[in-house]
Symmetry: C2
Subunit: 127 residues, 2 copies
């Protein structure tokens, strides 16, 4: 399953922190029963527009990954949790909403896998 | 935009090759007008079931990423191209279909961004 979260109105200080993003990517896989295959990679980048700077991070887990992209000036964040193993997506949404103090978020939950001969969107929800 | 591709019936030798996956992640961003912020990370992993081995890789690009997970025994591949900049998703689908000799694929194309106050699925198509 692939959980896609776009969060709005986040706590800006959280989005600015490379350490916080690294720590989340480093510890969250085991919290939801996944196994890292390498340490996270986290970078601060600066785009051509001043408001486009942010922190991007990624961790590979067995057969899948978690990625985060933050936009502190926009108080906006993209989070993807893609895993071949099932996890509690509702709990993940609650935890990440709390962690980044998201005012609003949009989520997709996709089923992806060989066993699904026809993929479909199983959920599209806003909390 | 976030292009999600699940490919079936792929060329097994392509899926087995860490070199090929690295090369794709290393060169594809510039092909579609994106800028890498770090070299790709590519790993071979082995799951608890023998058929679960494969190659996983990702590359961080400005504000976004490309990720690949392969399952050679299943001739199955997951590809995500997530970019804040627009790119030609139809062309990317054609190129990746050819590159991995995909017999069948399922794709999603999502709009993601602060400018979209309400995200929606803009395309769900099988080729």
């Amino acid at each position: 399953m692939h959980l896609i979260i776009d969060g709005f109105g986040a706590n800006r200080q959280m989005l600015e922190s490379e350490e916080l993003i690294y720590d989340l990517l480093n510890h969250y896989p085991s919290q939801i029963g996944m196994t890292k295959v390498a340490p996270p990679q986290v970078f601060r980048y600066v785009g051509s527009k001043p408001e486009d700077w942010g922190v991007s991070g990624f961790v590979l887990i067995a057969e899948s990954h978690i990625s985060i992209h933050t936009f502190p000036e926009r108080r906006y964040i993209n989070i993807d949790i893609f895993s071949c193993k099932d996890f509690d997506s509702e709990q993940a949404i609650r935890e990440l909403k709390d962690r980044f103090e998201l005012a609003e978020l949009k989520t997709y939950l996709l089923t992806r896998g060989l066993e699904y001969s026809h993929m479909e969107t199983v959920g599209l929800k806003a909390i």
